[in-house]
């Protein structure tokens, strides 16, 4: 019988740690499995969508990721961070897809986005628009568009470092690259993002 999100067990899971959720899901609790998906659907989807840049495909790959997570839960070490483990599976799933897919070359100049005007201009004169919340939304959209123009490996490290809050060592574990490479990627990605945001488009 499926347990609904408002069931008593689900309510008790809201405050449970990731390790407890993983153990209960492993024991067959559907409520725990639902809670696990609820906690990580956005980080997983966000990372995959940034990498494959194709929403329906990203959704399918995110679903595959969770199926792999459930099948591999018995191999998860509860002393480690569940988020890094799940994101590693998401990374591998997206990478496998990209390897299978024929490379699609998109010219950066062809990617149109009305919101992606110069961030430098906007932050220099924040009072130019009457509503700063609207400005905040537009800034978010501009950064979102600028991120999409970075190289895939830069996009990934930016998402993992600044959106998911992972440390360099964790990003290295997720992506399977040395820590030094990750630090270099983050540094270059930041500079590339700054350049992309400075340039009015």
């Amino acid at each position: 019988m499926a347990e609904r999100p408002n069931s008593p067990e689900h309510a008790s899971l809201a405050g449970a740690t990731d390790g407890e959720i993983a153990l209960r899901a492993l024991g067959g609790s559907e409520a725990a499995a639902r809670e696990l998906v609820r906690r990580y659907e956005r980080p997983v989807f966000n990372l995959i969508d940034r990498l494959v840049q194709e929403r329906p495909v990203a959704e399918e790959l995110a679903q595959d990721t969770f199926l792999k997570v459930f099948r591999g839960l018995h191999t998860f070490d509860p002393r480690l961070r569940l988020s890094a483990w799940i994101l590693r599976i998401a990374h591998n799933t997206a990478l496998d897809h990209l390897k299978r897919r024929r490379p699609v070359l998109v010219s950066l100049d062809e990617r149109g986005d009305d919101d992606a005007s110069s961030l430098a201009e906007r932050v220099a004169d924040p009072g130019a628009l009457p509503d700063r919340l609207m400005e905040q939304h537009r800034t978010g959209a501009a950064v979102d568009a600028a991120l999409d123009r970075l190289r895939p490996e830069y996009r990934e490290v930016m998402v993992l470092r600044y959106q998911e809050g992972l440390e360099y060592e964790e990003i290295a574990r997720v992506t399977g690259r040395p820590v030094g490479t990750i630090k270099t990627f983050v540094h270059r990605a930041r500079r590339a993002l700054a350049e992309a945001l400075k340039a009015p488009r």
């Binding site: 966000n46 959704e59 906007r122 924040p126």
Partner: protein, 166 residues
């Protein structure tokens, strides 16, 4: 008043320009709080849970058991069927079986010689099936076959999506 993300962006850009890497890192973390994560379509949790069928045994393992059992039963059936025919010859009068087979062969030969029309074949086959179906043994056999087919469809419907997704 809380700091707006724009302030963090401005601080980050300024820190990048001046080469203050740690400050740039911290400011960018703060600034990214205003960049929304992309989300899957509503109902994602239900779709994942539906396709995972998590509890007890993983779907792939359970379907493996079903497939193995089906293959074993099929192999046993195929092995037993000829033996049953041969064994049946000792129980049933072999003369009648051979005579029935011979009649069937003669009938087929006659149809082929006469240029059997598809409609003729269908009418005869339909008649034979109808006759078999109205007999008690035929009805039981037909019901059993329908039940087996329905169960096979139910099992396929339940396990194929899990197999596809794995």
């Amino acid at each position: 008043m809380p700091r707006m993300p724009q302030d963090a962006w401005a601080e980050w850009l300024e820190a990048e320009r001046s080469g203050a890497l740690d400050r740039a890192d911290a400011a960018l973390r703060e600034a990214f709080a205003g960049v929304p994560r992309r989300s899957p379509a509503p109902g994602f949790q239900d779709r994942v849970l539906h396709s995972s069928r998590l509890p007890a045994m993983p779907a792939s393992r359970r379907s493996e058991v079903w497939v193995t059992a089906g293959l074993l039963l099929g192999a046993l059936g195929l092995t037993a069927a000829p033996l049953a025919v041969v064994g049946g010859l000792f129980v049933i009068d072999p003369g009648r079986v051979i005579a029935a087979l011979a009649r069937a062969c003669v009938g087929i030969g006659e149809w082929l010689n006469a240029g059997a029309s598809i409609w003729g074949v269908l009418i005869r086959a339909g008649g034979a099936v109808g006759q078999a179906a109205v007999s008690p043994a035929g009805s039981i056999l037909l019901t059993a076959a329908l039940l087996a087919a329905s169960m096979a469809l139910v099992v396929l419907n339940r396990y194929l999506p899990a197999e596809r997704s794995s």
